[in-house]
Amino acid sequence: MGAGDGMRIIDSDVHPWINGDIEGLLPYLGMAWRRRFEGRTRLPDHPLRPPLAGATSIRGDARPPGGGAGGSDPAYMAEDLLDRYGIEHAVLSSIQAGKLATLPNTEEAVVLARAFNDFFLNEWLSVDSRYKLAACVAPHDPLEAAKEIRRIGSEEGVVAIFLPLLNTLMGNRRYYPIYEAAQEFGLPILIHPTGTEGGFQTSVAFAGGVPSTYIERHTVFPEVAMGNLASLVFEGVFARFPGLKLVMAEFGYGWVPHVLWRMDQNWREFRREVPWIDREPSGYVLDRVRFTTQPAEEPEKEEYLLQILEMIHADRTLIFSTDYPHWDNDVPKSTFRSVPEPTRQRIFYDNAAELFGLRTPAEV
């Protein structure tokens, strides 16, 4: 087994790539839409690129032998990631779909979201049943997004709804049709940095201003999660949608104790402003929100990691992820070596299995 100790593994953050962006989606678009995208099939990149070979987030050594970008060949990824590390299920979310947040045109975003989902259902989930999909929706039109959830929500292997965020906090009621549909299908909402933050007028803005380097924008991604978590909790979204669950993928977790404590502290002081919050706000987070492990944080002393895991009740809230094939991916055998059982197994498998409803046939 991949962790070297017989541990079971679910990877909750894996990124498949479509060669040529919209070029690769053309077979999933109607004729008129193919015409519409003629000559403009590239989705835009944030101008601040990682200082790596090719200025890309994708590992150069993950390139499939048959050609194309790393992450673009489901058969090769199965070998290079799933077989190599003994991963039982890999939840796919598309960074290219995240770039829908850059599109100023609602119809285009809606049509592309549909094409992304058809592409992955057809070209990935059918190739290997270990692949699971966080199906994307266009945040531009929540009613259309809800329709898309109802269209693909019952498809085999769809385990979450990836919501690329625009610059509106998640507690805002514009999103409620999306939450309602996701709850109806028992699918958690998954958010992930879209990579467009701070780079486009429609994208999520960073607090305080515009970061000027990749290192800076990569450092402050957690801001986005902090703001959205407070918004969801205090707007009463978890109280309105008692079945709604949320995955915060790749936003880190070391900041979580601070935000939980600060929310509870403020609630003791200002409960009357949000009187629908009738329990400690942190309780909603522990019950309904899950955080992915990658990039595993590297505190000054290893014991601090264990303390943080205890503070965030990691045996319930944390789920393992590699972020393959990105430059900063974590592999199971070198991740959380100091974390004792049974917490380690809960992080690597049980928490995600419960969240996504994933079990091996023997367990069902």
Binding site: G236, R268, R271, P275
Partner: protein, 117 residues
């Protein structure tokens, strides 16, 4: 032990008369003719609680709805805004287990008396 505080007309409506008895600072309140006595120290951060305001608050409600109630029964700390039940000293709606001490107070022949253990 019983202490004489003063004439009932000395106690303003919904605002504390703050007295010191045996070195202990205590606020005497009158709301719609009823009297309350509360220790003038917030159990949160030792603020002068009785310099806060008496009023009502928002009752637990459904998301997006507001319902005002408990008018005259809530003492709100002037520092962090913690809310206490004026008669029991408990934090409202279980936001904290901490409570402020309250004391029995009564009026005889228009004179106010406070009982301290």
């Amino acid at each position: 032990m019983e202490h004489h505080v003063g004439h009932v007309t000395q106690i303003p409506e919904r605002e504390a008369l703050i007295v010191t008895i045996n070195g202990r600072s205590i606020g005497i309140f009158k709301v719609d003719g009823r009297l309350y006595a509360v220790k003038n120290v917030c159990p949160h951060k030792q603020a002068p609680l009785c310099r806060g305001t008496v009023g009502g608050t928002m009752l637990p409600s459904r998301p997006g709805e507001l319902e005002f109630g408990l008018d005259g029964g809530v003492l709100k700390c002037p520092w962090h805004g913690w809310e206490f039940d004026l008669s029991t000293g408990e934090c409202l709606f279980g936001v904290s287990d901490r409570r402020v001490a309250t004391y029995p107070v009564e009026v005889r022949d228009e004179q106010v008396y406070l009982k301290l253990r």
